[in-house]
Symmetry: C2
Subunit: 340 residues, 2 copies
DNA sequence: AAACGTAATTAGAACGTTACAATAAACTTT
DNA sequence: AAAGTTTATTGTAACGTTCTAATTACGTTT
């Protein structure tokens, strides 16, 4: 790239010391007299020296790069999570390589390989739908630290951080039931994911606890997009006894529901109660404001980041999982005016 | 990291050839017999060899890493753009390091330095508010290829790719005027940015072309957040003669406007016309659907990516700017029922 | 003042790759 | 069959760091 760049020997010459001393000075070693360190740093600044992490990585056989792989960055929740993750890693002195897989396992494979060739110290991943343990087998074998968020890697022995989906959805469902709602639907999500199964369990638990008859509930999965959810909800309300409350898989689904119902007889927050999950930024300023389970994405990010960094420092650290308890944020979408 | 990893000499030994041959084989050099290459590749696969980009970068004095710095990833438009950029770079064989600056120049400085130490081949940046040429002076001097998107770096000689804001806003404004709207506002954006100034010019041009009196227009900047826009629009409609049409700086502002008006006497798409800019995914499925200028973010990303890659291949390439003409997508928010 | 211990500095090999120059092998020419 | 050409392969020196071991410079103790 550069015609000829400034290196440690250059700085050494300018400062009148040896290569080794410069190296020591750059890492602020206590073995050096502060006076010497200052002298070196001054020379470095003067020459416009820039540290070559790549060379250092090679020699040290380690790096401060993290690979972050996200399944769906078009979903604002994942975007918010990615931002928080990047910020935490950055604060901890790491640099992050980022890739969006769009739920494509092949793409996931590809970037995983690319990141490894570039020598990332560890991987933080929100896995694509259908990810198998074997997708990571060779990386685990090689001892690459991996932390998964939002979605576990089935059968894999690696740290996993996520909201407590079951508990969260159960709470959201109970919130609707508490208002006297007896006909309920759980809408959205992809059947084949653990995150879906967990939520479904939470929904069923709340329904069961309330003694609601199975005839009065419906569970309809659908892709996690506004469009799909919008279409799904339209089918839902065409039935004879449409639900009075819809527990959505996540906010994106809830937004889709809101859109799907806008020209119908059912006004969200009036005739029909809706809850989301993720508490994305927009919940506050959408109309009606969306009640949602707040997953504390910043805390999730912190835990994930810390887990990975711990594992980097001590690779033999045992696997640890964290389920963060989400909190119900009640806004207008889930308050049923007609029942008040 | 790894106890002991497989390197080129290991593969060489296994394949019964020299280091050099393995290196050549890995880059699929035509200097080698296909038979030899196959033999080497087989050995490499068998041993689980993984290429060390870092070492190669050091030797070659080049890299295939791109630094991507974005000012506000919480804005879905930038998220969509970042995704598209990452995809294009990935397809071209580059790996991207990502950072969000949250419009913070200090953070921008910090990641810029970090990316350089890591040896990125080039930088793609959507600069933070207030970015100066001098923030990049040392990088330009060192010959680091930089491409800016969405916002120019004032006074800097570097490629710049963005939508044609002036033209776009002019068109959006004309669209409202064509419906017979005579009282107009341009809302949102930060005064100190070039992107704001350009849009303002477009707004004024349309207004002037239509011969609309200056008393009937208002221009009120505000931070690019839903909340700020929501509050700003509430002030706007408290006046004696509130505008009938609001041209918004971008979709986020328009969403805020929509929210701010939800409990007012003015129904968007009925009593008051609103346009956005960016045509983010949600425009389609928000109610009412938001008319917006489509910037063709995928094409922007392509151009930006290509520009940077060209510059990597030929550093002496002259600076080239691209303004992509956006397209008006009319939806319900900008159709005034009361005027029909 | 000699001997020792500690503190500060440095020489030099290594990290995993590439690329130049050099060699070896295989064909053409005469 | 010797010389010349092309085609394949390889030895070796870098790239910019770090780290161990070796060296030098200082105070302290006797």
């Amino acid at each position: 790239m550069k015609s000829t760049s400034i290196t440690i020997p250059d700085v050494a010459k300018a400062a009148g010391v040896s290569k080794s001393t410069v190296s020591l000075a750059l890492q602020n070693s206590p073995k050096l007299r502060t006076e010497t360190k200052k002298k070196v740093m001054k020379a470095a600044k003067q020459l416009g020296y820039v540290y070559n992490q790549g060379a250092a990585n090679l020699r040290r056989r380690s790096s401060s790069m993290i690979g972050m792989i996200i399944n769906d960055l078009t979903n604002p929740f994942f975007a918010e999570l990615a931002i928080a993750l990047e910020r935490h890693f950055s604060e901890a002195g790491y640099v992050v390589m980022m890739a969006n897989t769009s739920e494509d396992r092949e793409q996931q494979d590809k970037v995983l390989r690319a990141f490894c060739e570039h020598g990332v110290a560890g991987i933080l991943i929100s896995p694509a739908v259908g990810t198998q343990q074997q997708d990571f087998a060779s990386y685990f074998a090689r001892g690459l630290p991996i932390v998964s968020v939002m979605q576990p890697i089935p059968g894999a022995e690696c740290d996993y951080i996520a909201p407590d989906y079951r508990q969260g959805i159960q709470e959201a469902t109970a919130h609707l039931i508490d208002q006297g709602i007896t006909r309920l639907a759980f809408l959205g999500g992809r059947l084949e994911t653990a995150a879906y199964q967990e939520r479904k369990k939470g929904f069923l638990k709340a329904v069961e606890d309330a003694g609601i008859d199975a005839d009065n509930i419906q569970i309809v999965p659908c892709p996690v997009t506004r469009k799909a959810a919008s279409e799904a909800v339209q089918q839902l309300i065409e039935q004879e006894h449409p639900p009075q409350g819809i527990v959505c898989y996540c906010d994106i689904v809830a937004f889709g529901v809101n859109f799907g119902l806008r020209n119908s007889a059912f006004k969200v927050g009036v005739d029909i109660a809706v809850t989301g999950f993720d508490d994305v930024l927009a919940c506050d300023t959408v109309s009606p404001p969306l009640s949602s389970m707040r997953p504390f994405s910043d805390q999730l990010a912190r835990l994930a980041c810390d887990s990975l960094i711990q594992k980097l420092k001590d690779p033999s650290r045992p696997v640890s999982n964290h389920l963060v308890k989400p909190k119900l944020i009640v806004r207008e979408s889930s308050i049923l005016a007609t029942l008040k």
